[in-house]
Assembly symmetry: C2
Homo-oligomer: 401 residues x 2
């Protein structure tokens, strides 16, 4: 049994990012940049008015001064001429400040006449003017390669005049559920049969992580069926299996995939839930074999699949974020396996997290996992913990689960 | 000027959830249930073995006992008969426990002979058996209406034997950018022109909130163009405009939309950034007019659009989540407008958030917003705050921005 950290390092160290593709700006949200986005213009392109009012020479615009209004500059219609001594140009938010002007007389501080304006509050030089390049300048790198694009980033790339983005191709993840007892939801269920839930939950987890799931037909527990299904997944960036990874004689994944070119790296991790986890390579396709128990499969999905998806997507290699939380109930000392306990989270008045472990931690109980918010990580041989002690938690929704 | 809370209440109070649609389980992730999901079966359907080993009668299985192996029960192939006194059935994880057996002799605690097995560790009744219904029972409501489906929920719905889900239709949100100076990214840019960023950032924000954006052609600043564009958005669940909401004579949205049946509810909010915000109804379509400055538009997007999308999607009405954080730099006293300051967040060793306000808070500076993590909320007339004081923050990525 190898430690969780080592398992994750070995998995992530053997993966590399998918190649680039060009997508329209409208399709860019949530994608990971494969090339930086540099500004194709300076923003604002020239000095701009930040308010509605009059562009003036500040030296002329002391309280009580009367200025001659020589024109108007609405946004999108720059005033062609300059502002001379004793002159003013009507201006609106977002319009370029005409040459000669160095301050804005606010509309509410101005009294408009027929062809003049009277200053009711002295104008300070530079006031209410956004200088050229305030936001960014031509050539500035605004978004680095390897960044997952937020809605703000999409706005920034648009403002920088990009209609197209170079992003990493979404990783395609084959998902193979195995087991004679497994059936698709809604299909006829034989005695002792179990409805397949792992493949569908994992497909959702793949989507949450920015990948494209390819759910393969369920393979019965015989070598031929598994091999045939595996064959169709060779075009994937990563292959997932679920079930068939524990010690019993009916756990065929390893045996069935051997003749297909499967090379095992490791298959037992010192963790709970989820000890039986296969990692290897099927030809050139990395293969992650998840346990069959639904909770084990999803916890391993958070610990190993999501970081793998990140690396395949072009993001940095890393572990799921751990946050500090206070424990609301006691926990016994841990054994030699790293433990991930299902827990509910609340926030205290000072912003601190409070974690209450679920009463039952059976790895078949999907309903409890669905109702929880977090996993508490307990390191191997962690001593018993009392209410109020600090523990480390992973927040499930933030991890796409 | 009306307070932020009142504005949000008036917006949310006038919206209702979209109607239901049927989607396949595979399309269910992130959607909001319009009908509860109840279990269509009991899980596990009968007592199941939690381990590989032998199903035995605990009374017969004291250490040293030799039991006769009368058959095998792999998962998916239940053993048809019962287990009588002195008998054992080979069993595997996930297989039904045969009648008569009430305990599992673990494989590692058993010594297999040709037709017998020797008990090496006394079996306790009920041990390693998952009783029928441990996870859920037929008819249990597992997921309520109004829940946004996580990957775990998809797994749970699958396990409960649902191939289809009844969810709220994704709200369709029309997005109309207005302004003579606005151009699409990559298109020819006249002097004084600005590349449209708001519509694209808002479209991404709509996607993040589970809606379907409909980006309308940019409307020039004249009544006819805006009216024509608005007409094409009447099929939307909500209409967004951006730009044209401040006090200048070139702010045409209100005037242009009036003849189209626009009825204003309110249009000024006591907040910064984002004072000019229009709320009303264009015929039967709710209309939210966002400010033209990119930061103002997106902050208003988080405060008003995302909660509106939630209500339209069938989720409860509410405000964006606020978390407590410690301030890392001093803040001056606030005026009568509720302020949302761009800030970076870090986490301290005890899990507490530390917020550092950005040096510049100009509402045209999109690059600063893109590089921040949070908004600090400052209530009207909040007193000056010192480093170490507690403030309230909204985390931007959690809000879809």
């Amino acid at each position: 049994m190898i430690p969780v950290e080592e398992a994750r390092s070995r998995i992530l160290g053997s993966l590399s990012a998918t190649g680039p593709e060009t997508v329209s700006l409208q399709e860019g949200w949530g994608r990971v940049l494969a090339a930086p986005v540099a500004a194709r213009l300076t923003q604002p392109p020239s000095d701009m008015s930040a308010m509605d009012g009059y562009a003036v020479r500040a030296a002329d615009a002391a309280e009580g001064a009367v200025l001659r209004v020589i024109g108007a500059a609405p946004a999108g219609h720059p005033f062609g001429g300059g502002v001379g001594p004793g002159e003013a140009v009507r201006i609106f938010t977002g319009a370029p400040v005409p040459a000669g002007a160095d301050g804005i007389l606010l509309q509410e501080d101005a009294e408009a006449g027929d062809v003049t304006v009277t200053v009711r509050e002295t104008v300070r030089p530079g006031r209410w003017i956004r200088p050229a390049g305030l936001d960014f300048r031509l050539g500035d790198v605004l978004l680095p390669a390897g960044k997952r694009l937020t809605a703000r980033d999409i706005g920034l790339a648009a403002a920088a005049n990009h209609a197209w983005l170079t992003v990493h191709r979404r990783p395609r993840i084959g998902i193979l559920a195995t087991g004679d007892e497994i059936r698709l939801p809604g299909e006829p269920l034989p005695p002792g049969g179990i409805v397949s839930s792992n493949a569908h939950a994992l497909a959702a987890l793949v989507r949450a992580g920015g990948g494209v799931p390819l759910v393969l037909p369920i393979a019965a527990d015989d070598a031929g069926a598994i091999a045939a299904a595996a064959e169709s997944a060779r075009s994937c960036d990563l292959m997932l299996t679920t079930g068939g990874a524990s010690v019993g004689e009916h756990d065929l994944v390893q045996q069935a995939l051997g003749p297909q070119g499967f090379v095992l790296d490791f298959w037992k991790i010192a963790m709970r839930p989820g000890k039986p986890l296969i990692w290897g390579r099927l030809g050139t396709t990395p293969l992650l074999g998840l346990p069959g128990n639904p909770v084990s499969a999803l916890v391993c999905g958070v610990l190993f699949l999501q970081p793998a998806l990140a690396v395949l997507s072009g993001l940095p290699a890393g572990a799921p974020a751990l946050h500090a939380a206070r424990l609301a109930a006691p926990l016994p000392a841990n054994d030699r396996r790293e433990d991930y306990l299902r827990a509910r989270l609340e926030r205290g008045p000072q912003g601190q997290l409070l974690a209450t472990p679920a009463d039952r931690q059976d790895s078949s109980m999907l309903r409890i996992l669905a109702g929880c918010d977090a996993l508490i990580r307990r390191l191997p041989h962690a001593p018993a913990a009392a209410p109020g002690d600090m523990v480390e938690v992973m927040e499930l929704e933030q991890l796409g689960l």
